[in-house]
């Protein structure tokens, strides 16, 4: 665990399995890239690397770090007009960065807000502003 959300003070009752983290990571990559193949490959690449770093123990994989890395590499995917996404995920994909990745992290509902703020390098208030703006942009883009 890294960042200010260390320990069980935030969500002591909730538990997220590696499966949930991987699915969430896949969703983030999918929204960023617009391609399920690219997303699957990205998940595999980062997970294999993180698995090695964790001495090949899935329980020790730093999934938070994987989300941070995915956010940091958010601009490495070109926006695809003919992407494989439909409906809201497609609209999410069309948002500019960092709105796209920040709002997706928020909607994944797998990371604490304090950690999302940390990896997006903003305060909780600034995160709230970004979410408000991104949500409005999302609603506008849908119309």
């Amino acid at each position: 665990m890294s960042g200010p959300i260390e320990g069980d003070s935030i969500c002591p009752l909730n538990s997220v399995s590696a499966y949930d983290y991987i699915q969430a990571l896949y969703r983030l990559y999918l929204v960023q890239s617009g391609s399920d193949t690219a997303a699957e490959r990205a998940v595999r690449d980062v997970l294999v690397e993180a698995f090695k770093t964790a001495n090949r123990d899935l329980a020790k994989v730093d999934f938070d770090g994987l989300f941070r890395a995915a956010f940091q590499r958010r601009d490495s995917y070109a926006k695809l007009s003919d992407n494989q996404l439909t409906d809201w995920p497609r609209v999410l994909h069309s948002l500019p960065e960092p709105q796209r990745s920040t709002l997706t992290l928020f909607y994944l509902e797998i990371l604490p807000l304090a950690f999302i703020a940390e990896i997006t390098s903003s305060s909780i208030e600034r995160l709230a502003d970004t979410i408000r703006e991104a949500r409005s942009a999302l609603a506008r883009a849908r119309q």
């Binding site: 665990m1 909730n14 538990s15 590696a18 983290y21 991987i22 969703r27 997970l47 208030e125």
Partner: protein, 306 residues
Amino acid sequence: MPSRLFPLIRPVYENEPELELASTEVRNNAELNVVLERQIAFDNEIVDQLRLLALSDAQIEKLEDSLAEDYGQPAHPHIIPAPATAYVPGAIGSATAAQTVSQPDPEPVDHPPDAEKNAPEKKPEEEEEEEQPRARPLTIFFAIGVGLIATICLIGYIVWDQMNSFQGADRITELLNSANGLTGDEFEAVQTTTDSLKDWFLLKNEHFTVPKEFGFTRTIACRVFQFHNADVGQVMAKDDRELLYFLFDPADLGVQLKGGKWEIVEGERLVGGVTVVEGTCFVVAFRGKHDEMQTYLAKKVTSGNQ
């Protein structure tokens, strides 16, 4: 006017310390509460659609294979949680909590259909099959290495054993052991020197030659007896110790030894020094061990050459 944190309020985040105050404020304000519910409804639609995007079971298995293949994972890593672990959609966690015991989310949330589809319901046989550990390449190489070293050692031992032995050594061991039950009555008293035994053997129709190193030892008694259908001359002699000589045609007992070379053979009680001289296999034996015979022969051969 709503709090600045209002956009962050969602049921799953409401218990977070940063939001507690803002959330209570909004929940206590009927007007804001309506706006919040509208916001939550809007967000729910997106969250639900996002949850439909999921890696299939086959993709997850492929991913597990990639992890297992990487440097040879001893045990197949299981990404799909075991059936005992409750799936908690909407739960917020961290990597450290990833493998902890699950507890149900107090708030009921609909399971995303795809996630449910992906949730494992594996047959016990499949699980057993998956749980079988795979050996790391390092372990395999180590095992092969140990096997190779053991084989090389075994071959080395066989070669060494053959180099330190000769054909017919077993027969000589038997011959030495055959002397264990002798009482002395079997012999004919012949008190002379070994060198002079030639004549005695000639009388017995045998043509045995004694190595020159042993030509001057005093004999006590002699005999010729049958051993595995071969005529063997046996001599009791006295040097600095009691000795027993055996003389025979090496071909009769299948002994093959380079002429002049000495070999040592150990029996149950006796140790024998074996050599072949002019077509006669000569064995000098006494009670003792290999090292004693080695010393004895070294001394004897050296003194014989001088």
